[in-house]
Symmetry: C4
């Protein structure tokens, strides 16, 4: 059983979750005037930004998931189920995003969204830790520094999610944008990762 199967399913679920989020944007009712259209579009500026943030976050998780698949050569039952539970929370992101979009001022919505991102990050970290533990599912020649880098990197997302949840009790308007630190931190780790592998991966 290779990892090819789970990758095809993951690509499908990521693609759908990323596209379904656009359904959260309120469609205007036909027959209204220009003024209503203006206010509808401007009124949901928050939602557009939320859509963009969630799209970028899902893209980050997709990139990370694929990078792990690159090194994970085999799969087993537990690894498969970690992946499936991970995909279950990927498919939940459109719902979490709509919660935050509809209730921009409510900490409970931010906490729901934050838990979703925390769980996604934690499961990816589990996935890497499980696969690399005693080189269970990876090539024995894999550089141990890459294993360690992957673990340190995996801690970033859960930490950012916890910080954003805390921040939402102080200022819910800002907390959603805290997640944008995730792609920034990813870029730093990416740079170190590329230096380690000589840019071949």
């Amino acid at each position: 059983m290779t990892t090819h199967r789970i990758e095809a399913l993951a690509d499908g679920i990521f693609a759908i979750a990323m596209t379904l989020m656009v359904l959260n944007l309120a469609l205007p009712e036909a027959g209204k005037g220009a003024a209503e259209l203006h206010s509808l579009l401007i009124g949901q500026l928050d939602k557009f930004l939320g859509y963009a943030v969630s799209f970028v976050l899902l893209a980050v998780f997709w990139i990370r998931h694929h990078e792990q698949s690159h090194f994970v050569k085999r799969t087993d039952r537990k690894h498969l189920w970690i992946n499936i539970i991970f995909l279950m929370f990927v498919a939940l992101v459109p719902f979490s995003t709509s919660l935050v979009g509809d209730y921009p001022d409510e900490p409970v919505a931010e906490v729901f969204f934050g838990c979703n991102i925390f769980i996604l990050g934690a499961l990816l970290l589990c996935n890497w830790a499980y696969a690399t533990d005693h080189y269970r599912l990876v090539d024995p020649s894999l550089d141990p520094r890459l294993v360690a880098l992957g673990k340190r990197r995996g801690v970033v997302t859960p930490l950012v999610a916890i910080s954003a949840m805390g921040l939402s009790f102080i200022n819910p308007d800002i907390s959603a944008y805290a997640y944008l630190f995730i792609p920034v931190f990813e870029g730093v780790f990416e740079y170190r990762h590329r230096r380690m592998t000589g840019g071949t991966v």
Copy 2:
């Protein structure tokens, strides 16, 4: 005509069905307060659990479908149509799940869901029985014990579905969780399967 084609379609339909289920979760109406949001989220706790159960069930069927594809080397017209009808009931799962989510106390909803799962299990069993009968679509070197194990394994899901339907007339609240026995039983069979093939498949 190889099985590659039907696999690509199956991956797509599974991915969409698993993601569409999240649309069953009621989106809050904008402009309500924190109290309404709390009660909305808590009020549909049943739906979240139903989403998780159906996601896990679809994942089990997806794994089983792919495991069968691994051994089935050819396809013919009948095999193709068994698969298509199977996919038709896969695409119906989001609807069945929403029925159970909206009517948690109604046996008729549970029976509808149970029939859906029963048919999925029965079609997978048919698929395996048809493909392995006289080694019609599988490799002649396939271990006969694996053929028999696959058939015994295929009986589990329909039996659990019938039990859950019966249970729904006694206690509809519990019956939905009876389906969680399916992944548990699957794990047992998986263990025996791996021992038989020496862990290579």
Copy 3:
């Protein structure tokens, strides 16, 4: 430019169109009693059958599209656009199906559905005629009898669609089921096709 690209897009669009149709089934409103649920389910029995008919029709078109891809070795701009327009009408099938489901007694709904199926059948025939004309996109060694069989076969769907549209003015209840002749005729052609190729394709 190989046909691989258009196949991946086609698999995706077929999978989504087949799964989206389930959204046409009316979801019950929460909080109603068992009687309402019963009448909802029975009241949309027509819709369930319509869903099944459309799913089977889309599966037939998907099989035919893939069978053509098997023989078509190259693609060009015109061939690509015939395929894209074909996929545009594939994506329209969920809408046509919902029209027929909501207006089972109206010939205009049946005619809309019939035109959709007619266009799908006609475009597949065009696709085959264009690709095989002077062996433009197929292997020169392709049996001319297979080319002719493919053309005769391609005429069936448009003819059935026209008949069903005519029938809808006489008896709209029956006309939807006329489309089930398409898979039956397909089976006949399939049998002749297999005899010609010696069962290898």
Copy 4:
């Protein structure tokens, strides 16, 4: 890291965006008469045409994206993110299309749609310019005339989008159809491209 991964995600997102647009077509309410059905269908003739225009535009972008992938042999972090932002605006097309469909007479809707198409065109041009700059991600043997042709070609879509947005202030009814010049211009460039490569690509 090859471009294979991003292609699978792109195929999925394009397929879903193209199919989701059909959800913009208003579904009739059950139980209405033939007269209502007629007026519903005729009343949204504009929407059908808008659906067709957007489907064709997405198909043009899909073809262009794949043609670029054919030459781009490697990927890097920046290239990946140009692609992801591109896909974010692909997923937004169903929403933009519904805006234009519901507000056919409002320049603001046309401008929203136009910006979406402009950004898509500009990002594809960026993608090509970035990948071919100093042969960063393409084969060094790539004909410099093809690089230049790709850039000239990439300017067409943004220019048409700007023209259509300007036109929408004069005559919003016509402006939507201005986008149909994009496939026409594409055909001209395609012809020159094919002459340059001798029809091999």
